[in-house]
Structure formats: structure tokens, C-alpha cells
Amino acid sequence: MKSEGGPKKQDGKQRRKRRRAHVMVAFIKLTLLEAVTEFLWSDGPESLLIPGGSDILVGPRPFTDKHILIDISQVTELKKVTVGAGGVLSVGVGLTHQEIVDHPVIRRRARLLQLACGRVGSIQIRNRGTLGGNLGNASPAGDSIPALACLDARVVVAGRSRRREFDLLSFFTGPGETALQVDEVIESVQIPEREGRSVAFFKKAGQRRGMCCSKASVALLARRRSPKSLSDVRVALGAVAPTVLRIPEVEQVLEGRRLTPAVIREAAEACSRAANPIDDIRSTADYRRQVVGALLTEGLFEIADHMQLLEQRRRSAKRRGRRR
């Protein structure tokens, strides 16, 4: 980068680079949650929380010399995973996506979250980016959000000597906007225990599978009610509206019905209708509307197939039992 330092004509990008190099930005590493909220309370407006930092160096946020970067990557309180009263799973948002993917307790209790975190960026990003960063950025394309919406998660935020809790979706107030106040940090997500056997999928469409930001995504979580039908169906869409959406229209289509091709088609059509996407740098509204339907179709066929397989296995086991 040194070679670029000469007095050349600068385009916007270069100017930004130079600014990045020369502006004096304050930096502080804090390791206690309480210290973070205290700090935010006194210096909030200019502070930028940096958990993994994987987005800050890409994002459209040129630093200014007023900024204070607060490194929260070493706040151990944000990395806890516990199962509390009533089986509620609490996941600290300081965990990286890969830590979530590899966590055995989360595997058992919130597989859908793992499926979604496993599709964030590339392995290089997943090793650095955190759940809290994904939530705090509040991008409608944040992959963890549709999954958490299906899981009925609640968001706990810590402020100076107080805590608040939100329904996941009410926490997001617009693209890039959350209900967080200046002195607050996202602390954990709370995921209630689910009964019965779940089926789930997370599907996303993007530029390339190895590393991309979603053009559209679909998460589904349901209970296997009978060998052929689902109940308690939840479907959420990412990147097709200003914030992540739950789609009751689709949930109703699927509730208690057999997963036949006709029902799947009906659900996909409802899904495309419910999407409210825009044209932007990543994709067009038209494509997004079509592709969410296609993603849902793909996922539902996989589930139908999986359920059929389980049913066949169950039957043949029964037959074997009878013969014996």
C-alpha cells in the first residue's frame, strides 16, 4: 500500500483508504461487560463496538477522528452458552459463527441456528464474525436472523445497570436499525425449548456458495406431527423486505397438511407473494421474489423426502419385529 502514498490523483476509493490510514481513531479494549456499558454511557455516540471486526473494514463507515473503537472480542461474559430454567437456551452473542456451528449444546437445541451460521460468509469470516455483529448490523440479509425468528428467540440487551428483552423481530426497526440505545450492548439470545421432533432448513441464494451475502434466504422450522405432515410451522425470509419477516401466509398453507407437490407449490406461491423485495447492488426485486419461492420449494422437497425415508425405515423395522 506504500506505493500508493504518492501525490497522485485520487478517486473516492483511494481517498477513503488514505483517510483510514491517517485519521487518528481512539481504540480501547474492554473485557468486562459492565465496563463496556459504563463506557458507552459516557462516550456512547462516538463509539463503535468491534466484536470480530469483519464488517467494519468492509462497511461503508469511514472512520473519523471522533470515533472510539471499543474492542469487545475479549468480553468473556458474551461467550457463555447456558441452559436455564424451563430449558431456555441462552447463547452469548460474542461467539463467532464457527463457534456456534461447532457447539454441541447448540446442536442439540437449536440446530437451525447452526445451519444458518454455517452459511455466513466463508470459513475465514465465520472464524471472526460473531452472532452479535450479525444482529447489531441489522442487515435484512443477516443470515442468523431468519433462523432465530423461527426459533422464537428473544434478544437480551445490557445497558448501564439495566437489562431489556425483546422479541427478536421487534428488536429490528429498519434496515441497519435496532432498538438499541447508546449505552446498550446485545448480550445474548434466548431460545425456548421445543417439544417433539423438529425438522428445519436454512436456504440462501447468493453470488457464490463459498462466500456471499444473501440475495434472499428462507428458514423453516416445524414439528413432525405425523409421518407425512408438519405442525407448528414457522417460516422466515431474509433480504426480501426492510427487515426479516415471519410469513404466516406460508405457515398456514403448510400447517397440518401432507407435503404433496401441490401443497409445496401453493406454499411457494404464497411465499413469493409475501416477499416485498427491492432492487439493490446484490440483486433485483423480481429475482428475489422468484428465488424465495424456489428456495422454499427445494427445502420442502428435501423435508418430504427425509420424512418418507424415516417412515419407510420405521415400517420395515416394524415388519422385522413382527416376523421375529
Binding site: A21, G53, V58, D71, S122, I123, I125, N127
Partner: protein, 161 residues
């Protein structure tokens, strides 16, 4: 604001005065003189800047050096010994997994992360493990086979045969 950061790079302790917004890849290239790590895109898309940070593969263009004080960093310079390629590097050469070579340092580090995680990775695991690294020359097949063969050799070495 200048921050003093200690890093252990390829086993050697080093101290740097860095700017609060300095990227790890710049610290490595400009301050430590380790230019093996490349910058392709600078925005986390290509994986050319991949290094191991405390054993995990990350894009060094997306890491603030100030954040990783005390960390262990492994770069391509740490593979092999002076004048001698590592087993993985040798396999890359033999398999023809290198053409222009720009992706190679990052690819090698991603490969080491795969080999550390799985003793005998499947093709699928290898492909997934390097899916964050772009190579515009080789078409990946030879890279995958170089990694697979290295895994095989290491497994044999471990079992002491």
C-alpha cells in the same frame, strides 16, 4: 492512536506500534516484512490474505491488528524450513496446483486449517474448507488432490509406518 501490539508470528515474538485501524495484513506485509501473504480484494471476498490466527483461518484484510494483541499468527513463511518446502507445498508443486501463484499462500493456510481439523478429510470437506479462497487459474481440482494426498501422507507418518 498508536497501540503497541505483541504477536507471535510463525513462532517468533514481535512487537509493533500500530494504528488503531491498521489491518493485520498490512502489519504483516509492511511492518514484519512478510510479503508472502497477499492482498487480492481487501474486502474479505478472495481469501488471498488467509493466515492462521490462533490456529483458525481468517482473512487478514478483515482483522484489526489492535484487536489481536497476544495472538499467534501463522503465515506461509512459517511453512517448511529455509530452502525446503513443507510436505503440503511439495504436494502443491507435484500436483500442479499452482499457476500464477497469487492465491497459493492463502490456499496453503486454508489447507493447513483443514488438515488440522480433519485427519483424513473427504473431498467434500476439502472443497468446503477452501471455498473461501478464489483461484482463477487452476480450476481447483489439483489443489484438492494436493491437499488430499498430503492428508494421506501425514496419516501414514502418524501411524509410524
Amino acid at each position: 492512536m498508536k497501540i503497541t501490539v505483541r504477536l507471535q508470528i510463525n513462532g517468533a515474538e514481535a512487537r509493533f506500534e500500530v494504528d488503531s485501524t491498521e489491518r493485520l495484513v498490512d502489519t504483516l506485509r509492511e511492518k514484519a516484512g512478510l510479503t508472502g501473504t497477499k492482498v487480492g480484494c481487501g474486502i474479505g471476498e478472495c481469501g488471498a490474505c488467509s493466515v492462521l490466527l490462533d490456529g483458525k483461518v481468517v482473512s487478514a484484510c478483515l482483522v484489526l491488528t489492535a484487536q489481536v494483541d497476544g495472538a499467534k499468527v501463522a503465515t506461509v513463511e512459517g511453512l517448511g524450513k529455509a530452502g525446503e518446502l513443507s510436505d503440503l507445498q511439495g504436494a502443491f508443486v507435484r500436483e500442479g496446483a499452482i499457476q500464477c501463484g497469487y492465491c497459493t499462500p492463502g490456499m496453503l493456510m486454508a489447507a493447513e486449517a483443514i488438515l488440522a481439523r480433519y485427519r483424513r478429510p473427504t473431498t467434500e470437506q476439502i472443497r468446503k474448507g477452501i471455498s473461501g479462497n478464489l483461484c482463477r487459474c487452476t480450476g481447483y481440482a489439483k489443489i484438492v488432490s494436493a491437499i488430499r494426498k498430503t492428508a494421506g501422507r501425514r496419516a501414514i507418518q502418524r501411524s509410524g509406518r
